[in-house]
């Protein structure tokens, strides 16, 4: 059986943060493949892979740049100044994104729980 394509097989990614939101950029190494990426990486697929409600996901494709930006609201445990998590910047989420398999299924994992953090 051929292993499903991982985003990391043909894309690069970089993650950053604004408050409690993770912001990622995703770009195929061959810009001509952006339409494939946009067709596969839907808000629903991203929501599943990052264990978020789809209303917390926002995608902005930039065809001229050959890239896609992804905003994940409320995915950082409160954000870098308020979270108790081990990696509150979410810098490592670029690698999590690249592990997404294009079957649309979350890669090598199941989703245990929804978490949320509100300002007390």
């Amino acid at each position: 059986m051929i292993a499903p394509l991982r985003l990391g097989d043909f894309c690069v990614a970089r993650a950053g943060d604004k408050g409690d939101s993770s912001i990622l950029m995703l770009a195929p190494t061959d810009p001509a493949r952006l339409p494939d990426v946009v067709a596969s990486v839907t808000p629903e697929v991203i929501a599943g892979h990052f264990n978020l409600d789809v209303s917390h996901v926002r995608l902005h494709p930039s065809p001229g740049l050959g890239a896609l930006t992804i905003m994940l609201r409320g995915r950082l445990g409160g954000g870098v100044t308020r979270s108790g998590w081990a990696e509150p910047h979410g810098k490592t989420l670029s690698a999590h994104l690249l592990d997404l398999k294009l079957s649309g299924e979350p890669a090598d994992g199941r989703i245990p729980k929804e978490t949320s953090h509100d300002l007390e």
Partner: protein, 449 residues
């Protein structure tokens, strides 16, 4: 010069408060720079600096500023280059006085040094009407937990300082891009009213402001994206031409990689909507930006399009946020994850049954398994070593200490083979955001003679 006869060369000396010192020294020495900017101010640094200043523990500005300037000013000032930084944090005036003293100690001829003030809006903010982005409450609702409120000011006061002859400009909270925008606009004679030029110069700042993130280190992955010489990663510079386009480069012989990929990753770094990136001086549409690899670690970038100027400025509000306790214990070998999960169960039960608190308030994850993604449960073979990580944010100092004691108690009471306990309790400062009308912010430069 690469960017043409009129090109203005601006380099970056720091991309964050904890950045390396030596790449800036090398770039200042060998880069032929006209300007160098140091971005040293994280979001909560001002609030922490304000706290430290209140307790007398610090002067309220970046303690590394002297080290950064000691190795760079001796190269920059004799060559008529200007320096900008936001390392003034909560006290730019004291930082500026200290820099003047440093210049004297270095045996350099004195130059005008400026402090930029007015970003501190704690006293002018209408707290009852300043709504928080996070949850819609107001700043007033945070009561006496509020420590600081600083507006992200734009480049105008930095530009004023340079026009008054300042050679070193020390700001506190301003947009990161303003540190680059001001020297470029000053040199080219551009006005911030010219939004086309302001957008192009802001793009330069956006690409340079994270220093080594542009030159490939942050893209490196063995076998997939190989980058040579990472232990001596070079910081980038830009040759900004009179038409606003810029050619980016790094010192010959320095480590790193500058190409279309590293530039594209940084162009879209922390950008939600590339059609509308907001800064204090201009909103920008990045979607038509062109990136041309000229070879030899040189890349030409141009094409930022302005989309107006925001009427309001972002304000970061620092808030006392209680204590954060973190305690970890390690398990190894076959079954380590199961023993870790038993440790989790024990501590949660004791939190409830012995201490009468809510066990659900403990945040527990497994380093080596899911600690970077506590909302994710990997599948596949169990790891052969893990650290169970217990975290608690609490307004009660004694609860923070109690969590550390509970994890330490796992040593002799089991599960089997737990070791390497580490604990920490820190007082935390949270940052929340609101808006302020631009007109209420009196940002200005004060040039020390």
């Amino acid at each position: 010069m690469v960017g043409g006869v009129d090109a203005f060369r601006i380099g970056v000396g720091a991309g964050f408060a904890g950045d390396r010192i030596d790449p800036a020294d090398a770039l200042a020495r060998d880069g032929g720079l006209n300007a160098m900017a140091f971005e040293c101010l994280a979001e909560r640094t001002i609030a922490l600096a304000q706290l430290a200043r209140l307790t007398g523990a610090s002067q309220g500005y970046d303690p590394r500023l002297r080290r950064r300037l000691a190795g760079t000013l001796p190269h920059l000032l004799p060559n008529r280059a200007v320096v900008t930084t936001n390392a003034g944090a909560a006290n730019p005036q004291a930082a500026a006085r200290d820099v003047r003293a440093l210049i004297h100690e270095l045996g350099l001829p004195p130059v005008p040094v400026a402090a930029v003030t007015g970003d501190d809006v704690l006293d002018v903010l209408d707290r009852g009407n300043a709504q928080l982005w996070e949850d819609g409450r107001t700043v007033a609702d945070l009561g006496d937990r509020v420590i600081s409120a600083n507006a992200y000011i734009g480049a105008q006061p930095l530009l004023d300082a340079l026009e008054e002859g300042a050679r070193v400009v020390i700001a506190g909270r301003c947009s990161d891009a303003a540190l680059f925008l001001a020297p470029i606009m000053h040199h080219q004679g551009w006005s911030l009213e010219d939004l086309d030029r302001t957008a192009e110069a802001t793009l330069v700042g956006h690409l340079l402001e994270c220093a080594g993130q542009l030159t490939g280190g942050y893209a490196a992955e063995p076998g997939r994206f190989d980058v040579a010489g990472l232990s001596r990663l070079g910081f980038p510079f830009a040759d900004v031409a009179a038409d606003g386009s810029a050619v980016y480069g790094k010192l010959p012989g320095s480590g790193g990689r500058l190409d279309c990929t590293t530039v594209l990753e940084q162009l879209l770094y922390e950008i939600d909507d590339p059609g509308r990136y907001l800064t204090p001086d201009v909103g920008i549409d990045f979607r038509a930006v062109t990136i041309d690899d000229l070879g030899g670690d040189r890349v030409r970038v141009a094409g930022a399009v302005p989309v107006g100027r925001p009427e309001q400025l972002k304000v970061s509000v620092g808030v006392r946020d209680g204590r954060l306790a973190v305690a970890e214990i390690a398990y190894a070998g076959t079954g380590c994850l199961a023993r870790g999960r038993l440790a989790e169960q024990i501590v949660r039960e004791r939190w409830q049954e012995v201490h009468g608190l809510d066990g659900a308030q403990l945040e527990i994850s497994y380093v080596g398994w899911n600690s970077t993604r506590p909302w994710w449960e990997p599948e596949g073979a169990d790891p052969l070593e893990i650290r169970v990580r217990f975290a608690l944010r609490t307004p009660e100092p004694q609860h923070a200490v109690m969590l550390c004691e509970e994890v330490e108690g796992l040593y002799t009471n089991g599960p089997a083979g737990g070791g390497g306990v580490v604990t920490s309790v820190t007082e935390t400062v949270g940052i929340v955001s609101t808006f302020i009308d631009r007109d209420l912010v009196d940002a200005r430069a004060e040039v020390l003679a």
